[in-house]
């Protein structure tokens, strides 16, 4: 649903000497195969990308919309961009794009000020894909989704929307710059935000707990609302621009007039029977959160089962805390493993869960469900500011044969040496269930790398190893990247379903995490 926010929670003055060392020096990029064409990108697409300004370390985010004609042209577009500390920029776009048979392609845009934006994309399908910025001006990555232009109406935005926004707050003069995470639920009635509940966490104040929202407002952009689905909104004491993907999905970017806070994320309408009681919340779940700890960048991925009312079990947990990986499997080491739906805010989808590991301490989370078994999640453990995605796990037992196919992925995070941003998108093929070998290609940017920031069209090889058919013990994904990146990324892989895998790099050199998603044409 969202990219993870990392950015440099710490930073060094030294240049990055190397990435995860030991990568393949010469790996040939597989010949592009598949059925993607220029016509696969045809329509109006909303995009969002975030990362950092490599020259300052400032948080950077862009959200917008472009129109692809199915023949290699971006006929028009619009974006809002925030380089935190500078004024918000809103520019129009136009340009060209290419698509290879495997769905990898490029988008080159010129904005209304004459500047050029270069992106590389990987199509997951003709309706969505991944983006990484490849012009070196900003280190950013994200995603895009086909918009339903028929939903570019104020009245389309109606219902309860669950959101996850993450970003940076510069704070008042003299205060510490902090990561910020805001998750919650807002009620929209086609013109007003009538209420909602949010949870906020940052370095200075810590977890807020459930906070009731006062009414807010939103409106379509009178100039661009009907063309790109752009609107503006005010709630939770903040001002946002948003782009409508469709009536169920909005992409937000915070536009603080003072330039103090920047954040972005997605909002999804609640559908299905959202559990209103603890007893109604059951199933198997996988989650991935990213952010920062007191030691530096931090990310964790885990799975658990809600085996009875308020009781969780079958926990498997992995964390990379500033380069120190950790794994926890449930046994007698786990105590106080409980969950609860927030009865005081029934219908919001808000809930909490916690567990204590005898050596690892206490892990605490708050979540909001946008469906009966999926939502957004915030880590509210004492030394963490992080958020991400909570997904229902289904389809086990997972096997190589069942997972065989073509995948795209987006990883981002922090290099622990340079403490700068790393952004990658890529794709790989697991040819069959008879071998766990994978091969593919990635594109990325590694700020501060000695070989330069940009790594386009890097051949990759590796393995996807399924040791556990339900991810209660570690499955792994290893990707070896050829030169000039020349890096090996060793990750734990938590299978969500036959099309989705959440991954966490467990190397000490980087804290990287992301989502691997099956490609379809």
């Amino acid at each position: 649903m969202k990219r993870l926010l990392w950015l440099s929670t710490l930073a060094f003055s030294v240049a990055l000497a190397a990435c995860n060392s030991g990568g393949g020096s010469s790996i040939t990029v597989p010949p592009p195969t598949g059925g993607f064409t220029l016509g696969s990108l045809n329509g109006t697409y909303a995009f969002s990308m975030s990362g950092m300004d490599p020259s300052t370390g400032a948080y950077f985010v862009r959200t917008g919309s472009f129109v692809a004609d199915g023949a290699g042209n971006i006929s028009s577009g619009l974006e809002d961009a925030v380089d935190l500390g500078s004024a918000v920029n809103e520019v129009t776009l136009s340009g060209k794009y290419t698509v290879l048979a495997n769905g990898r392609g490029t988008i080159v845009l010129t904005d209304s000020s004459g500047d050029t934006l270069d992106w590389t994309m990987d199509l997951q399908s003709s309706s969505q894909g991944l983006l990484v910025e490849t012009d070196g001006n900003f280190a950013s990555s994200g995603s895009f989704n086909l918009q339903n232009v028929n939903d570019f109406l104020l009245t389309s935005i109606a219902g309860n929307y669950v959101f996850d926004f993450s970003g940076i707050n510069l704070g008042p003069s003299g205060a510490a710059v902090t990561n910020i995470s805001i998750i919650g639920d807002i009620a929209a009635n086609g013109g007003s935000i009538t209420g909602g509940v949010i949870d906020t966490n940052d370095f200075n104040n810590g977890p807020s707990g459930a906070t009731i929202l006062t009414p807010g407002s939103y409106q379509l952009d009178p100039t661009y609302g009907t063309t790109y689905g752009r609107g503006t909104a005010t709630f939770a004491g903040r001002t946002f621009a948003f782009y409508i993907v469709d009536a169920t999905h909005l992409k937000f970017i915070e536009e603080d007039a003072t330039g103090t806070e920047g954040a972005s994320g997605d909002a999804l309408v609640q559908t299905g029977a959202i559990p209103a009681t603890t007893a109604a919340f059951t199933g198997n779940f996988v989650y991935l959160v990213g952010g920062a700890s007191t030691l530096g960048a931090d990310a964790s991925v885990a799975r658990f089962t809600v085996s009875g009312p308020g009781t969780i079990g079958s926990i498997s947990y992995d964390e990379n805390n500033a380069g120190t990986p950790a794994h926890i499997s449930q046994g007698s080491n786990i105590s106080n493993a409980t969950c609860a739906i927030d009865a005081a805010n029934a219908g919001s989808g808000r809930g909490t869960f916690t567990f204590t590991d005898s050596t690892g301490g206490t892990f605490s989370y708050v979540f909001y469900l946008y469906s009966p078994n999926s939502g957004v999640i915030q880590d509210v453990s004492t030394n963490i500011v992080a958020d991400g995605t909570l997904l229902g796990q289904s389809g086990s037992p997972f096997t190589l044969a069942g997972l065989a196919g073509n995948y795209v992925y987006n990883w981002n995070g922090v290099n622990n040496s340079s403490l700068n941003e790393e952004d990658f998108i890529g794709q790989f093929t697991l040819a069959s269930g008879s071998s766990n070998n994978i091969s593919g290609v990635l594109d990325g940017t590694v700020v501060g790398a000695s070989a330069g920031n940009l790594y386009p069209n890097i051949g990759t090889q590796g393995t996807l190893t399924i040791n556990s058919t339900d991810s209660t013990t570690n499955n792994t994904l290893t990707i070896v990247a050829g030169s000039p990146l020349s890096a090996t990324y060793n990750s734990v892989a938590y299978v969500v379903d036959a099309s989705t895998v959440l991954v966490l790099d467990t190397d000490k050199s980087s804290v990287l995490a992301g989502v691997v998603t099956r490609q379809s044409q």
Partner: protein, 151 residues
């Protein structure tokens, strides 16, 4: 595996003088890996034995080894760029006063510095919740990046 508190740390702490123990409090018994509690803060005063702006041992970041009257302490400073930008130079032999707290890291413990002082110069490195202060460089007055201009 995150470790809250180790026998190694307890053994080392037992060698501390009573005065030092009064200043250097142990990690919280129930603390999560990397936990920081301002109520557990103490003050170290000592001489820098070694300073690395970019440690190769996780958690990475600026780290130093401090010789205190009670023993040698491994100190995590966080963001070296923050030190550099504030002209806070650290060298072996410097005498420093550091306010912070111990946290369990792996099989040992680490002193997370919140405020470091050298002579009359003091610098805040962490928030009161222990998170490293982020460093963001000043922006150039003439921004030329292709973020786009005004419509």
């Amino acid at each position: 595996m995150p470790i809250r508190k180790t026998f190694l740390f307890i053994a080392v702490a037992a060698l501390f003088s009573a005065a030092a123990l009064a200043q250097e409090k142990s990690p919280l018994a129930s603390a999560r890996f990397g936990a920081y509690d301002v109520k557990q803060e103490g003050t170290l005063v000592g001489t820098v034995i070694d300073y690395k702006p970019s440690s190769t041992t996780p958690p990475l970041g600026a780290r130093l080894t401090l010789q205190t009257p009670a023993g040698v302490v491994d100190v995590h400073l966080g963001d070296a760029r923050l030190l550099t930008a504030n002209h806070f130079n650290i060298q072996s032999g410097d005498t420093l006063r550091i306010i912070g707290a111990y946290t369990p890291v792996g099989s040992s413990s680490l002193f997370l510095a919140r405020i470091v002082q050298k002579g009359t110069q003091a610098l805040t490195l962490r928030t009161q919740r222990g998170f490293p202060v982020r460093y963001i460089a000043p922006k150039n007055s003439a921004e030329t990046k292709s973020q786009g201009g005004v419509l």
